[in-house]
Symmetry: C2
Subunit: 277 residues, 2 copies
């Protein structure tokens, strides 16, 4: 399986503190050593850094630890391959596509079994993963709503609710999706989130010997939401998402959420797979 | 205006020698200091590194000078903005889209005036440049050929001939395009190419005090083609493309080329603009 990290913030934020802990999981404190990827949005466009080398040792990850790229929306992923050749670039998350004149980023943790969605052919997978197939299906379904960006973003959330419920029937479907404005987070089995806001406190990384006093580095109006497979810090108020929970995060806070139906069969399968980890 | 660099090779090649000279043009030996971008293909997928900082000083460019990313197809661009805000990520070349389950990379040098192509809406620009509009139009036109990758790649070349001729009516349209297999290079005003093959020789960069003996680093069956706005080395056999010339490069050599029609009005306009540089 893999690990996910997402961030949505009121103001462009420097994610290097969280990335230091997260990158350590790519081969140092955890076994997710099959490559990593991170996409930073700047307005409607994102730039994506991927590497087939483990995040703990990759020169790209090393550069990112030094270079303060500030962003309001970030999606990152470190990989332990389940399907698809791990060393192939086309199988590295996050995946990106353009829809409605915006980039979209998608990263998935899980495994969809016998999942072959129908496609209108507007978005075709480049690699061989179930994850990219799911992302292409998701982009197709959003494109069907409207040829241009819909006036009301609620319809995007409702489409994601319907699609996530159906796709989760095929297996574990924890994912993060962003279009540079919103971050959407869906939990099948394991995902946590944290809203970091005033009054800011001191936090210590779980995976590295590093602390930061956010009161010193943030203004009172700053606020950001971090979503991760496992809590990244020891002393902050991380909340666990429930299976079937879908969050819509904007301006560093949850603006809408839904509890999707999870069938008894799927729930039992997930419980069994969690017990094996 | 901007500078372009493209490479197509029989085997995955390390481009750091050429990049060292090319990156120096981004603010050090030349004035193209409005950001840079480079995309490396690995099979059907590319990874793209862009930065709004000048190539001569960017931490991303610095990392790339150290990290030997080997690739059979590379497209790179350093920017001197003419249209669009130079500091915005969405306006940085190369641009990328997916078509037929492959990534495509496009970089443009020039300026298209009053260019507003019609669009079926499958590919929408994220930024505000004439270049990205031209790329989206190009992707739309290729998609119209067939919903899946056509069996014969000749039809791709012929579509590019037709589109390049029409688009060049709007202004200067030097471009590089790659799908990870082929590199296409179109010249409106200024583009050079070089086939580097056995017997390999020694070459010195124009923009940096650096030489390399390719006979020491290449096998006899190696061959690559480099395309650039200006020759990168002093002592190699660079060939200048003619206005209206379109090259299709594969396996490090030109497999097909066309001399497109350039109207007298366009030719005169280009001659005037070259005289001003």
């Amino acid at each position: 399986m893999c690990q996910l990290l997402g961030m949505n913030s009121v103001k462009p934020a420097d994610l290097r503190f969280s990335l230091t802990g997260f990158a350590a999981r790519g081969g140092l404190t955890d076994h997710h050593a099959d490559g990593f990827g991170i996409g930073f949005f700047e307005d409607k466009a994102c730039r994506l850094f991927v590497d087939a080398q483990p995040a703990a040792t990759s020169p790209v990850a090393e550069m990112l630890k030094q270079y303060a790229i500030k962003s309001r929306n970030v999606v990152s992923h470190i990989r332990k391959a389940t399907q698809g050749d791990p060393m192939r670039l086309e199988n590295c998350h996050p995946f990106t596509r353009e829809l409605w004149g915006r980039h979209w980023l998608f990263a998935h943790n899980g495994d969809l079994i016998d999942y072959q969605p129908e496609s209108a052919g507007n978005y075709q997978p480049v690699g061989t993963t179930d994850s990219e197939r799911a992302f292409c299906a998701l982009m197709e379904e959003l494109k069907q709503i409207s040829p241009r960006e819909p006036c009301s973003p609620d319809i995007i959330f409702e489409t994601l609710c319907s699609l996530s419920e159906r796709t989760a029937e095929f297996g574990v479907f924890n994912y993060l999706l962003s279009n540079g404005q919103s971050l959407y987070a869906h939990c099948s089995t394991r995902l946590w989130y944290l809203v970091r806001e005033w009054p800011f406190s001191n936090a210590s990384l779980v995976d590295a010997d590093l602390s930061m006093d956010f009161a010193q580095t943030n203004d009172p109006e700053d606020r950001l939401c971090v979503v991760a497979t496992q809590p990244l810090t020891r002393n902050e108020n991380w909340q666990q998402l429930q299976p079937g929970q879908l969050l819509w995060i904007e301006q560093g806070r949850i603006v809408r959420q839904a509890q999707l139906e999870v069938s008894e069969a799927v729930r039992k399968k997930h419980e069994a797979s969690l017990a094996c980890v």
